[in-house]
Symmetry: C2
Subunit: 494 residues, 2 copies
């Protein structure tokens, strides 16, 4: 009898999952194959499907079912316990905000996105300022409604990284920053190890597709349950329990941009393909957080893809496809794909400087939310931090605080997950080398399935049984710290 | 006040249309890009989406709204009047069958499809017979529930060709048959005008894609609102009001099979692209029937694509892409793409013999439904008719009465729409040449937009304002008869 509400919730979850997956396919199609004129109707379709899922899940009896399940005594880390925990979280999130606030927020986002787009073109922060002001004010109201124990920003972080605390992220980032700044200085003083344009050449798209496919297959990406297509903005989308879609784009002057892009997205895809399939329509079977998702993409892209061993295996193959590469040694290739230069633009930055871009955004977001920073002061503070952390003088706001779309979409608290991904990736690699010493030999031999198997067991198959921090500690035996990542960067770049 | 139910119905139609369109995209994706392992979940998604649309539309208050609208005094051929007429029809269809009958039918179809597949492989009609027996018995029950005035088969026809009567189709087909049989005999006695394998060659896929695209564009297919992809079974799917997707497959030994396939599907697609877009989510804005849809595909494929004038314009272009074609004259090309040979297999048959394949199926279906024919006697009767109409001896049931999948899916009454499509196409062409004499010169000059514009006005933009027979009479000024089609075939083949 007490099982009945649980059964109702799992039935409901099947419905909302199908609606969500159908919307995911529609979105994938929009980015890959949809003809241009399809865009207006497609937007209305996706809004309807996600609205329907929301409507079904926020019906008042759903709250009663969840309450009943909370008294069922499920073990917290059982699938049932994790499901109930996540249903509660998402139900509260979906019902805690008054309809007027949700509506005002959505309308403001829509206006803010358009305003940002224009402001960035004109490099005119003042034109974006009132929208950002309003979005932050509304987001503060959201944070108050959601509630938090410690810092209002925690309430927003939870949408992207469940259980993460502003204070903990601050500590993690502080432990990283000065060493990173120092490392970048050392690298700059040493100067480049190979000419920056060493890889510039002519790499036909067909050859890139072939190499991408072979590499993704070698990593273990299952093309019976997935595919790679072309899109303007690379992404990975799981549209079903056995259907994981990667996208990439091709730069014929540099094959590594697509290759690393595919390895990155394949990292996301391997995670999706490794989730417990039978839990696809339940919260416990979902990927647990953006920071963990990003750990998988960064691990395969950076730790595997940019390693010496990787190029020992793949440079000969790449040179068969692109004969100009025959002139390069593995050492040169390794240096060419591991260059670090301070710059303005986050999305063009490298493995060493990337996290400083993130820290700047995190510090600004935090200060905006605890009232220490006013919106109008963002440009000055942005530029000051870029000078201090990266040593670069931002020339204009379009290259500075207007470069990212996130804030204009009302997304605050997302940026830190990128750096959490980097830290998690290094932390996992340290653990796997310790637990499975044979991993090193395997990677040298171009065998990736041992590493994948370990990630499957420790991360992928765990789904959302545990919150991210617990998952990472269970997987590695110790809490995540900046040490592994700093060691990795120093070894690679010094 | 009396408008309120109508407003509710149009709101509901928006929802069910989105659900139907989302399912259409999922289905398109399944045939084009979906990875193999996605199939099981995809089936459950599509079942959910169409089930949800069915559930929303069959709620009891919907029947009340429709009844209220029927008293609103809408003009029958206004959008509102047509909407109410179609809502009534579909609501009755969706609610007239008891749930147990629907379930039993679906389960039987599922078993029958598997049994048919095995039976066809083994050419063993007896293994399929009990399933077909049951499907016909259940379909008779369906017909009784739906109701009919004249012939039980009318009730089934209505799913594919609204308003069509078994008696009228019988008359139309009788007026066609003896002339067709005679024409085929004459053609056979004369012998082929060019060697049957004249076009056999090597036509790389890339070249075929280029030619297909150029031809489809010339016909007026809008690639801003549509696309062409590759699929095992060619089809056209409208997945939104400005999103029409064609598929084709490539035979590198004969480029015309893909080209005519694309012209056929583009004919369907031009119809979809020409429907009144603002009525996309309402019945009046939908394509009216399969027989009218097929008239558009056959018109562009056969009347335009297989004409002398077409090849005067396109043979030079095709020969630029495929230089081997330079040796052919337009006359040879015209003869090569207009060959007629009696054969066993419907889907491989030509413009002249095709309708006889259809008539045989229609006569058998009719006889099964009015009790003159027993299921066990199908093979004998099938083979007798093939001998009589087409002069061929069917060697085995897999080449005979087991060749088509339709019956195993519980589809009875679909076949005649193919021949209605041919008759409608010829009837429309006769009318346009009469009304727009300049059409002939335009087609000679490779200008197709005049013809398209006429079809847009007479057919496409009419949507479902009128039932098919009325639409055809309005468009051409006279009821459809076999004459135009026989004239067309004689002119082309004699």
């Amino acid at each position: 009898m007490s099982q009945e509400p649980y059964a109702k919730l799992t039935e409901l979850a099947k419905e909302t999952t199908i609606l969500r997956d159908a919307a995911a396919l529609l979105s994938w199609d929009q980015e890959t194959y949809m003809p241009p004129q399809g865009v207006a109707y497609r937007a209305s379709e996706m809004a309807y499907l996600s609205g329907k899922a929301h409507e079904l899940f926020t019906a008042s009896q759903v709250g009663d079912w969840i309450s009943a399940c909370e008294n069922n005594g499920f073990t917290p880390d059982s699938p049932e316990g994790a499901n109930v925990r996540e249903w509660r979280f998402h139900y509260d999130r979906a019902t805690q905000l008054p309809v007027e606030l949700v509506k005002e927020f959505e309308e403001t986002c829509s206006l803010a996105k358009a305003a940002w787009s224009k402001a960035r073109k004109a490099s005119d922060f003042a034109a974006f300022e009132p929208y950002l002001e309003k979005l932050i004010s509304l987001s503060k109201q959201k944070a108050e409604r959601f509630g938090y124990e410690d810092h209002p920003f925690d309430a927003l972080l939870a949408d992207y990284e469940r259980g993460a605390r502003t204070s903990e992220i601050t500590t993690l980032f502080q432990g990283l920053r000065s060493d990173l700044v120092e490392l970048i200085q050392t690298i700059s003083e040493r100067g480049p190890r190979v000419p920056q344009d060493l890889l510039e050449g002519n790499y036909p798209e067909e050859g890139q597709k072939l190499l991408n496919q072979e590499v993704a297959e070698a990593l273990g990406f299952d093309f019976e349950s997935g595919r790679i297509d072309t899109a303007a903005h690379p992404f990975c989308s799981g549209v079903g329990p056995a259907d994981t879609r990667l996208t990439t784009r091709y730069n014929t002057a540099d094959f590594t941009s697509s290759l690393f892009g595919v390895m990155h997205e394949a990292g996301h895809g391997l995670y999706d393909q490794g989730l417990p399939g039978e839990g696809h329509a339940q919260p416990y079977g979902q990927a647990v957080s953006l920071g963990v998702h990003e750990s998988q993409s960064r691990l395969w892209e950076n730790h595997v893809g940019r390693s010496r061993e990787f190029w020992e295996r793949w440079l000969p193959r790449a040179a068969e496809i692109f004969p100009d590469l025959k002139k390069l040694s593995v050492e040169e290739m390794f240096y060419a794909v591991n260059q670090a230069h301070p710059s303005f633009i986050r999305v063009e930055s490298d493995e060493v400087t990337y996290d400083l871009h993130i820290m700047i955004r995190f510090e600004l977001e935090k200060a905006l939310f605890d009232g220490r920073l006013k919106v109008k002061d963002i440009p000055g503070e942005w530029n000051r931090l870029y000078k201090e952390y990266l040593g670069v003088e931002v020339d204009k706001d379009s290259n500075g605080c207007l470069q990212d779309i996130h804030w204009s979409l009302g997304i605050f608290g997302y940026f830190p997950t990128y750096t959490l991904g980097n830290l998690n990736a290094s932390h996992l690699m340290t653990a796997v080398f310790r637990e499975r010493p044979e991993t090193k030999t395997e990677l040298e031999a171009g065998q990736y399935l041992g590493l994948l198997g370990w990630l499957r067991e420790k991360i992928h198959l765990q789904g959302s049984l545990y919150l991210p921090m617990d998952l990472m500690r269970n997987a590695t035996g110790e809490p995540v710290s900046p040490k592994a990542h700093l060691d990795h960067l120093k070894e690679r770049y010094l």
